[in-house]
């Protein structure tokens, strides 16, 4: 994944802050303080996840004019022939195992970020209930309009051979 332009917009930051239930005035145009340390509306620490909106190939967003694999008339709208081929990354498949951020600079409304992603290590673990767990790491570097590194994000995904079970 590469994101060429990820504009940090006030309405988007507001919607994201609301979604995580965060009423911190620093994230809202009508309540932030220009006298604050940042002097601008800043983005919450996990906001860069929303860069997926600006990734033209992001596979977890329905594409205009294309079939979507979620339910419609039936539990999946994917044709049987497609189901198997793409099953590994959707059904019972990928879960988010770890997420790490290193913050170099604040992300502010008005910034325009870009992101480059590199695949990192992969490793295999034996699951508690049998079956292999395949882990893979991806490192995304977010830079601002001045070319400065603002956030380094490391995502660890795990794919299981069957649906992970609930721990209770």
């Amino acid at each position: 994944m590469a994101v060429k332009q990820f504009p940090i917009e006030a309405g988007h930051v507001m919607a994201f802050a609301r979604a995580i239930g965060d009423s911190n005035p620093a994230y809202y145009a009508d309540t932030y303080s220009s006298e604050s340390e940042a002097g601008a509306i800043i983005a919450p620490p996990t906001f860069v996840e929303a860069s997926s909106h600006f990734d033209p190939d992001y596979f977890l967003r329905p594409k205009i004019g294309e079939d979507w694999f979620g339910s419609g008339e039936t539990p999946t709208s994917r044709k049987p022939s497609e189901k198997k081929e793409k099953a590994s990354r959707t059904s019972g498949g990928g879960l988010h195992a770890e997420q790490r951020y290193v913050y170099h600079k604040s992300v502010e409304v008005g910034d325009v970020l870009s992101a480059t992603k590199k695949l990192g290590k992969t490793w295999v673990k034996q699951g508690r209930r049998g079956g292999k767990l395949n882990f893979s790491e991806a490192v995304t570097e977010y830079r601002n309009q001045n070319g400065e590194l603002v956030i380094t994000a490391t995502m660890v995904g795990v794919s299981t051979e069957r649906a992970a079970t609930v721990k209770e």
Partner: protein, 140 residues
């Protein structure tokens, strides 16, 4: 309000209830804002019959985002230098989550004060859903 090095000590904890009776609608709200429309987070027929989970569940990143809210409320805005978590259990609709930071170290790095914290988020049955670490740059 911003936390200061002079007012904290190792072992201090800060906790916040970050969601109460998590709604499917809030999960949908997060899907819209984050752009992650994986059906396992909102589409019950798909989740049950195709993915094989009993119910839709929250994005790990929603739980991390809510945990981050506790951290920024504790240390102040724009102060975090590191924040990393493991997702240790799925979070289902109805969850009530409490996030806690525990001060594990206070140190100097490049003449700046840094606080290191353990981070843990648990549901109301005591099941840990997030386990991680964070660090923040604090004024003296």
């Amino acid at each position: 309000m911003t936390l200061k090095i002079s007012t904290i000590k190792i072992g201090d904890t800060y906790s916040e209830k970050v969601c109460s009776n998590l709604s499917r609608t809030q999960i949908v709200q997060y899907a819209g804002a984050s752009g992650d429309f994986n059906p396992v987070h909102h589409d019950q027929p798909y989740t049950e019959h195709i993915a094989g989970y009993p119910s839709v569940f929250a994005h790990g990143m929603l739980t991390m985002g809510m945990t981050g809210k506790m951290l920024t409320n504790y240390v102040g805005d724009g102060r975090l230098t590191n924040f990393g978590v493991r997702f240790t259990a799925q979070v289902f609709p109805g969850a009530t989550l409490t996030a806690t930071a525990t001060v594990t170290n206070i140190r100097q790095e490049n003449s700046e004060g840094i606080v290191d914290m353990d981070v843990s988020t648990v549901d109301d049955n005591g099941v840990e859903v997030i386990n991680g670490k964070a660090s923040a740059r604090l004024d003296p």
